[in-house]
Subunit: 403 residues, 2 copies
C-alpha cells in the first residue's frame, strides 16, 4: 500500500506535466486550426487535475453507498444508507479539507473537477447531482461516483426527469473503473438493469462486477447465485472474455459465514488491490488518450495545410474548393503518403467534409504560416510525441517492467 | 437410499403393468387403425423393460468413464481410462449376471434393451457401439451410456464414420438424464463441443453439468473456472433458466483440497440423490409419454371412424373421398366438438392428409365394427386413461404428495 501511494504521487506529478504540455503545446494548435468547430471541444484543466473516477452502479440497495463508506472508513456528507431505495442523486465523492455538500450546478464549475460537460444534461439533471467533500486520503487519488440504484418498471422513469442511461454513459466513458454491484439476496436482473448493463458493456474492459453481501448465504447457495449471475451476464455482455466477478461483503461488519470467509477475504483483497493500482493505470490511460488526440490533431493540421496550399492565389478559388471537396479521398491519400500518417489517425471522411465545407479555404492555417509560428508549433508536437511523452510514461513505475 | 431402491422396485412393477396395458389394449388399436403407416412405429417391450438411461457426454478425458466406474464401484468390461482420448465407442453399461461385452449389432436385437432404433445408423455406427454387462445392483435401475470424448478440429470428423451429433441426439432424446462433464483443468469449449451442446440444449431440462476434478485447483481458481463455464453455457444455451452445474470430483480418490472439500461433498451428494430419484421420475416420464400416445391414438381412431361413416354405401365413393380430403379442417372441427377432444391431441393436418390419402376410405375401421370389437376397444382405452393409468401413478411414491 505504501508503494501504491508513492505510485500515486508520481502519477499526480506526471498528470501535472501532461497538463502543462497540453496547455502550452497542443491547445494552441487546436485553436489555430479551429479544432473545436470540428467537434472536439478543448480539454479543461479539471480533466488533468482530477484523480481517476470510479463509478458505482447497481440495483437499489445492493450496497453502493455502503461500499464507498467502507472504502473511506467513515460516512460522507449527504449520504444515506438503507434497505429501501435511498440514494436519489448521482454523487461525486471527492477530496476536500472540510466536509460538505456541493450542489450540482456549482460542482460543474468548481476548478479541478471534470464535471463541466454534465451541463449538457440541463437543470433537471443538475439538481439530481451533487458533490460530497470529505477529508480522507484515498480521495486524493480516487474520485468515487455514487449513483442512484436502478429501479424496475415505472419507478425508474417516473421518478427521474433525465435519461438515466445517458448520464450513466457520460460517467462510464470517463471512468477508470466501473464497479457493478449486485446483492446475493436479490439477483434478478430487471429490464432496466439489463439496459444499464447494455450501456456499460461498451466499457467492458473497465467493469468489475461485485457479488455483494455474499456471506449472508450458504456456500452452495452462493455457488448457485454466482453461477446465475455469470449465466445472465454472459447473455447480456457480448464479449467472449468472462467479466471478472468479485465475491465479497463490503462493509465494516465481520464476515458471518466461516465456510466462505477465506474465499471472500481473498476476493475482496483482489478488488482493493485493483483499486489501489488505479491512479497509476489511470495516468497511463490518460496519456494514451492524449497521444491519440495529438496524433489526430497533427493529421488535422496537415490536412488543412494541404488544402490551403492547393488554393490559387488569385482567381478560381470557389472552383478549386469544389474540386478539392469532391476529391477528398485523393487528398487524404496524398497527405497520408507525404507525411507517412497511419489511416487510424484520419478523421471520418464525410464528417470532415461537412465541417470543412463551412470554411473559406484561403483562411485555413499554413503549417509554415504565422499562426503556426512558422512551423515551430508542429515541431513541438513532434517533440511531444517522440520524446516528452515517452519520458513521462517511463516515470510511471511498472509500465515497461515485468509488472 | 433404501427408500430410493424400494421406489425403484415399485417403479419396475408399474412399468411391467404399463407394458401389459400397452400390449393388450393400445397396440391392438394401433394395428386396427394402421397407426404405423401414419408414422408411429409400435413400441417394443424393451422400451418398457429397460431402466432409465443416463447419458454421459463431454470433451475427451473429462472423466466420463471414470465417473461410471465410480458409480459402479468397480471397472466394467471393455472399459479403458486414461489421459489421452480413450473411449472410442458408445457403450451401454447394463445389468447382467456375467461380466461381458456385447457387440453393437447383437445389442440392438437383445430382448429387454431399447437400442433397436440404432440400426438406422447402419454398420459404420454399430461397429462403434457396444454393451458392457456387469453384475452391479445399481444397473438394475439405471442403464449408463458412456460416449467417446468430443475431440476438436479434424480429429473429431476424421476418426468417425458416422455423425456424432445425430447419434448423440438419438441417445439424448431417449435419456432420462444427460450428464455433461467438464474438466476444470481444460475448460475451453471447442467448436465441436459447442455443436454437441447445441444438440443437447433441446433437452435442457434433462441436463446436469458436472465440473469435474474440481479439487485439483484452489478455491479462487475454482470460482473463476465455474464462472467461465456458466458464462459460456449461458451464451450457448437459449433458456433463461440457469443450467445446474455440480462441482465435484467423481472418482475413488479422497478429495485433495480441504478448502473446497465440504462444498464438493454437498454437490456430489446432490447429484447422486438426483440419480437415485431417476427410476421413479423415469417411470413418471414414461407414463406421461404413454398417456400422450393414447390420447393421440384415440383421436386417430375417432377420425378414421368419422371418415368411414361419411362414405356412401354404393355410388360416388371417389367423389366423397375427394370432398372429405379437401375439407379436412371441417372434419377435424366436427370430430373435436362431437368427442370433446382437445386440439393438442390432433395430428398435424397436412401430414394426416398425406397419409390418409393412400387408403381406401371404405376400408377404414369403424369404432363399432368388428376390428374394434364392436366398441369394446375404445371403452378399454377410456378405462386406461380414466382409471388404470391414474392408479399406476398413484402407486409411485411422492408424486401426489409433498415430495
Ligand atoms: N455487505 C453487506 N452485507 C449486508 N448488508 C449490507 C451490506 N452492505 C450494505 N448492506 C445493507 O443493505 C442496505 C442497502 O445499502 P445501501 O444503502 O448502501 O445500498 P445502495 O446500493 O446505496 O442503495 P440505493 O441504490 O438505494 O442507494 C442497507 O440496509 C445496508 O445496511
Ligand atoms: N475426478 C478426477 N480427478 C482427477 N483425475 C481424474 C478424475 N477422473 C478421471 N481422472 C483422470 O482423467 C483421465 C481421463 O479419465 P477418463 O478416461 O475417465 O476420461 P473420459 O472422459 O472417459 O475420456 P475419453 O473421452 O477419452 O474416454 C484419466 O487419467 C483419469 O485417471
Ligand atoms: Mg445508495
Ligand atoms: Mg472414456
Amino acid at each position: 500500500m505504501s508503494s501504491a501511494s508513492s505510485y500515486a504521487v508520481i502519477a499526480k506529478e506526471v498528470m501535472e506535466e501532461l497538463k502543462t504540455l497540453y496547455m502550452n503545446t497542443i491547445l494552441p494548435v487546436e485553436e489555430a486550426t479551429s479544432y473545436s468547430s470540428f467537434g472536439f471541444s478543448p480539454l479543461n484543466a479539471g480533466e488533468f487535475d482530477s484523480p481517476p473516477l470510479v463509478l458505482l452502479v447497481g440495483p437499489y440497495s445492493a450496497g453502493k453507498t455502503t461500499f464507498i463508506e467502507h472504502l473511506l472508513g467513515k460516512k460522507f456528507p449527504g449520504q444515506r444508507v438503507g434497505p429501501e431505495p435511498t440514494t436519489d442523486k448521482f454523487c461525486a465523492v471527492l477530496h476536500g479539507e472540510d466536509e460538505r455538500v456541493i450542489p450540482g450546478n456549482a460542482l460543474t464549475v468548481t476548478p479541478g473537477t471534470p464535471f463541466k460537460g454534465l451541463q449538457m444534461f440541463g437543470n433537471n439533471f443538475l439538481t439530481r447531482f451533487e458533490g460530497a467533500q470529505s477529508n480522507v486520503d484515498i480521495l486524493k487519488n480516487l474520485t468515487l461516483i455514487d449513483s442512484p440504484g436502478v429501479l424496475s418498471g415505472e419507478k425508474q422513469t417516473l421518478g427521474r426527469s433525465y435519461s438515466y442511461d445517458d448520464v450513466l454513459n457520460w460517467f462510464a466513458e470517463r471512468s477508470d473503473m466501473i464497479i457493478l454491484l449486485f446483492d446475493v439476496q436479490k439477483l434478478d436482473i430487471s429490464d432496466e438493469m439489463g439496459s444499464a448493463i447494455k450501456v456499460l458493456q461498451k466499457y467492458s474492459d473497465k467493469i468489475k462486477v461485485v457479488l455483494n453481501k455474499a456471506d449472508t448465504i450458504s456456500h452452495q447457495q452462493l455457488m448457485k447465485v454466482y453461477g446465475a449471475l455469470l449465466w445472465s451476464l454472459g447473455k447480456v455482455i457480448d464479449t467472449p472474455e468472462v467479466t471478472r466477478v468479485y465475491i465479497g461483503s463490503f462493509w465494516s461488519e465481520p464476515l458471518k459465514n466461516e465456510d466462505t470467509a477465506p474465499l471472500l477475504e481473498m476476493e475482496m483483497a483482489d478488488l482493493l488491490r485493483d483499486l489501489a493500482a488505479l491512479p497509476r493505470m489511470g495516468a497511463v490511460r490518460k496519456i494514451n488518450d492524449i497521444v491519440k488526440r495529438i496524433r489526430q490533431i497533427r493529421t488535422h493540421a496537415v490536412l488543412l495545410d494541404h488544402l490551403r496550399n492547393a488554393m490559387p492565389s488569385m482567381f478560381g478559388k470557389e472552383k478549386k474548393k469544389a474540386e478539392l471537396l469532391s476529391d477528398l479521398p485523393t487528398v487524404f491519400r496524398t497527405v497520408m503518403k507525404q507525411h507517412n500518417i497511419s489511416v487510424g489517425d484520419f478523421p471520418e471522411l464525410n464528417k470532415f467534409k461537412r465541417d470543412v465545407e463551412m470554411i473559406d479555404f484561403t483562411e485555413l492555417p499554413k503549417i509554415k504560416g504565422g499562426r503556426m509560428l512558422k512551423g515551430k508549433r508542429m515541431q513541438d508536437i513532434e517533440e511531444a510525441l517522440n520524446s516528452k511523452i515517452p519520458a513521462m510514461l517511463n516515470r510511471i513505475p511498472g509500465i515497461t517492467g515485468s509488472d
